[in-house]
Amino acid sequence: MDKKLTMALAGNPNVGKSTLFNALTGSRQHVGNWPGKTVEKKEGTLKYKGHKINVVDLPGTYSLTAYSIEELVARDFVVDKCPDVVVHIVDATNLERNLYLAVQLIEMGANVIVALNMVELAKKAKITIDEKKIAHFLGVPVVKIEANKKTGTGKLLDKALSLTGRKKKKSLITYGTELEEHIAKLEELIKKTIKLPENYDPKWIALKLLENDNEIINKINAIENSKIIIEEAAKNRKHLHDVFGEDVDTSVADARYGFIGGLMKEAVVKKEVNRLSASENIDRVVMHRALGIPIFFALMWVMFNVTFAFGAPFMDLIDVGFGQLAESTGTFIENATLLPAWVGSLVVDGIINGIGSVLIFVPNIFLLFMMIAIMEASGYMARAAFIMDKVMHRVGLHGKSFIPMIIGFGCNVPAIMATRNLESEKDRILTMLINPFMSCSARLPVYVLFVGAFFSAYQGTIIFLIYLFGIFVALLSGMLFKKTLFRGLSSPLVMELPPYRWPAVKGILIHTCERSWLFVKKAGTIIFAIVIVIWVLASMPWGVEYASEESVIGQMGGFIAPVFGPCGFGEWQPAVALMFGFAAKEVVVGTFGTLYDVEDEGLGALIHSHFTPLSAAAFVVMVLLYVPCMAVVAAIRRETNSWKWPLFVVVYTSVVAWVCAVVVYQGGLLLGVA
């Protein structure tokens, strides 16, 4: 018989959910959005023994109380969407804390299977786990797996298929007579007065109300006649506080950890081994009080140099490939006498050169995304958050906000989305506002071109300095915003410091390919469209010389160019390039390719003849800081749900960029730099 079922993968962050997801679904996965929200939803399908299983990779959570939007999504999916099976992935080396979520999932009435992951690591750490006993305690199946080796997944799926329909489970934990009485009373009241949505267990709701869970209180508030229940719960809460001298949530946490502690005693044997692990030794160095920050920047520097060193040969290959394509297409069209000459110009000048000048950066971008993904998966990102916490505090943020900033080096769009991890709205907005100054990979081509043309000997180092300058402006802006727009206390910093792990090659590759593919797709769609628009504007009015000052595009550029006069690049071509760069930063270089008639000398040489080293520097600063691309503006609009902040970003970044470019150019002139 064919069954179709939905299986959700839940668990704490970093326990191997995504690794298991990749192991189960392979390439049959897609990234979508959660309805109404913009959190990425990773779904995939899998066929097993004639059944079709829809697997959903949920964001990591520590409990069923949600603090960030990401956690809210995970919680709501389990609570409201009622998946047929919830596989709770548990890090076997950190069982006690992980089981806290398991207990809550089971209490909620979900169909839980506990997947004990990383059992080999646990074995190495001399932890012996009796999974049968755990299953007995929890009343749900427990399976040992090793996600990165795909062991145990068959057994896991067998168990998933055998679990059908929700059954009423006996209660897992007893919270003491007094509390239990209150839960029972409230449960009765709920059953009597309101109609709960189908999948809600009234007892669980009663407990959550007593625990003072805001989200659940809001949900119940939305139901008819619920006022009396909310009031009753508040009264009970107060009474229980008076009796126990502590809030209900503390008593509940105590009881849950007490239960888990008992389970651990029965089912787990830990041999005390030498605690000073490799992880701690690494941390001594990379989180060193004085050396931590220099090491972080040294790593960044290595990262950028690797990007160029390993990217270069591939870039040459792509360059040669597109050159040949342009040449042979050009000759082909010339020989095909039926085609008018403008077709050749469109295809060769417009499309092939335009797209080629963008796709050439795929190797760089691939490498950059790969290194960011490795930083994330290995656990280093959390260290960076720790060492940058003090610096970030000056800006009114805390270290956790630094993670989206690093992701911004790849692309600001996922970086803006990564702010969903932050708990306070104020932190989120502030982090989004300063994120565009983190130089994304689309700006890289401009640096490569300009720095290569003038200062090629120190390319890696200079580009690294450009990135540093971006961070500097971001932090300075943060400080300014904190003093003006976002006064008040910083939000709390509570985050786990995960142990170091070897990143799974497959996971890194899937993630990197996904991101790079988005870039290629962008090249094929948005950038393709802009290239054609540029070509059309450069060819009109009819009969004018292609991409000359008399063309429409030339006139448009000539119109805005005076604005950039004080920055040292008041010609019309850079103005046009910057204008189209707002659509996508990748286009800046391609526009130069179209506007300066590139023959044999190459774009670099042309830049050399149109810019001085000083005006090149000012232009690079301009590209680094000015308006983020449309996609980022749209992302900020989506995430803040208003036009206010995206518009603010557009205006603010434009002003800052212009001022900085003018300072660089005029300052340089004053100092006598040519």
Binding site: S63, Y67, T93, N94, Y100, H398, P492, P498
Partner: protein, 71 residues
């Protein structure tokens, strides 16, 4: 004394978490609640503190450790 004053390497018992329910719940999700023992792994007396609890490590901001009373 508050956790902010606890020295590196010390094992301390959490006596009271004097904060709103939100932060208190967050902490208990990570295994830090009244009555549990934690080990201070890192405290520079400025910047965040790292404690070890239930086989994992947790970073706590300076503002938060002031609200956690220990002995």
């Amino acid at each position: 004394m508050s956790l902010a004053m606890a020295e590196c390497g010390k094992k301390v018992l959490i006596k009271e978490i004097a904060s709103g329910v939100c932060l208190r719940k967050r902490l208990s999700d990570l295994g830090i609640y009244e009555g549990v023992k934690v080990e201070v792994v890192r405290n520079d007396f400025s910047g965040p503190v790292i404690v070890s609890v239930l086989d994992s490590k947790v970073i706590l901001g300076r503002g938060e450790v002031h609200k956690i009373m220990v002995e």
